[in-house]
């Protein structure tokens, strides 16, 4: 893996969407530093702006106010230094597994030999051997997300942005993919920014959990999770942390319902 750093620094970020009767602030006063190689989960009630923040980091939309730096360089648009894994796999249905994984390298003009090497490496890493020539329609949901992760990693990005990537998977597959992701992350040592609304998922995966408030989303509390992996979701510390975060989230969900009530 290349000389990765992947430090992300957001300072006083704000995102306002034009809307009627008045503009809506999705994210406000959002300041966060993520160190290179760190695994950070963004957790919050739906509509709290966690996906908005991820989309700004991905470069799909600009922030209204604030600074956003990846390794000290401002983010101005989408780029291959930030790999994105979407909730719906977003694979190119007309390309085989291999061609999906090699897509980024191909677009960037990599020689076909180099591409072949990278593709084989990520096929092996994500446990996709035997499916090289399969089209996405013939893969299960979990396999599709494996390909999506491999596709993002094959570009050798500095940071991996994951927007509820396992939300549409069944419980067992989800658990399996979480373990796989940690294994791959430990090998690849990329920075990961992972959006989820599941407390368990964030506790199983991350180094730190950024708990967000109801809209406009800002940081309510950053919970460090420094237990070794693999983590035991039946442990006492797990239950304590889950209760603590759950209480915060409940307050925020109540607040976001109250907001809805006002608006209706």
């Amino acid at each position: 893996m290349g000389p990765t750093s992947g430090d992300l620094r957001a300072t006083n970020l704000e995102k306002v969407f034009p809307a009627r009767p008045k503009p809506v602030a999705a994210v406000r006063d959002f300041t966060l530093e993520v160190r290179g190689g760190e695994f950070v989960c963004l957790l919050g009630p739906s509509g709290c702006g966690k996906s908005t923040f991820l989309n700004i980091v991905a470069g799909f939309m600009p922030a209204t106010v604030g600074r956003l730096l990846l390794d000290e360089r401002p983010i101005t648009g989408p780029g291959p230094d930030r790999g994105v894994v979407f909730q719906e796999h977003a694979l190119f249905p007309w390309l085989t597994v291999s061609d999906n994984i090699g897509f980024g390298l191909r677009m960037r003009g990599a020689a076909s030999r180099e591409r072949g090497v990278a593709v084989s490496r990520y096929i092996a890493l994500m446990g996709l051997a035997g499916f090289e020539q399969t089209f996405p329609k013939d893969l299960s949901g979990g396999m599709r997300q494996r390909v999506a992760i491999a596709r993002a990693l094959a570009n050798d990005p500095k940071i991996l942005l994951m927007d509820e990537p396992f939300a549409s998977l069944d419980a067992q597959t989800r658990r399996l993919m979480q373990d796989e992701l940690i294994r791959v992350w430990q090998q690849a040592r990329k920075t990961v920014l992972f959006v989820t609304h599941s407390i368990e998922e964030s506790l199983l995966l991350s180094d730190r959990i950024v708990v967000m408030t109801a809209r406009p989303g800002t940081i309510r509390e950053i919970v460090p999770v420094d237990w070794p992996r693999p983590r035991d979701d039946a442990s006492a510390e797990f239950a304590t942390a889950k209760r603590h975060i759950g209480a915060m989230l409940n307050e925020e969900i109540t607040r976001s319902f109250a907001q809805l009530g006002r608006n209706v």
Partner: protein, 277 residues
Amino acid sequence: MSDVARQPPSAPWGPPGMIAGISGAPARRALGLIIFVALWEAFADLNHAGLRFVNPNLLPAPHEIIAAGIEMSRSGVLWADVSVSLLRAAEGFALAAALGVSLGMLSGYLSLFEDFAGPLIEVIRPIPPLAFLPMFIIWFGIGEPSKVLFIAFSCFFPIYLSTTQGVRFTDPVLIRAARSLGASRAQIFLHVVLRAAVPEIMTGLRLGFGMAFFVLVAAELIAADAGLGYRIQEARNQFHVDVMFLDAFLIGVLGFGIGAGLRWLQGYLLRWKSQIN
């Protein structure tokens, strides 16, 4: 495509009443045709033999039509007509495909172009193309250009419209994915938007092809000196009903054959797409 292969021949749910030794969809399909032709032959022969349900000159028997076909194929008229007609259809269709796909992509991708050209196309499109045939003959004479251009004009619209739809409704998340993988604008157009539009483009091409055959015959009926449509018209004047039937069938067979080829191509190009059944 092949429901035959998936069904074991002795499937208990297979259709009843199959003739021993013949099974599967192709055989069933052929059987329908064979029965139809046999009934026709019997009816026409009885009719000729003196029952005289209708004037025998108006209803040739299948064997007479086949005989007419053999004779015309010996004299070379048949092949000349077929090749003239096919060439016209192919030229007109190719022209329409090139224009329809490229302009359709432009209009699906650039809303400026769509604003500009959309209303014009929407006004012309509902007019049956045949209404323009006299104009084409006045403008381009009775030679090949008028027919080729008329065919191109007629099949342009379905191809253009389908392409526009296909390009416009590309899944935005795929474009985002491509952008974050480092694709440039041109690459996104070429490798995502265009690829995503292939299903609609193929549908447009198939519709356009049907249109090409439809108007080809109409154009040849009115202004031509060779071709299957022309030959039907000529046979009408000489009261050769068998030739009229023969050429009409040939048009059907050719249309079916090329249509099947396009269906196969579509299936091949879209093998990545899930299909019902």
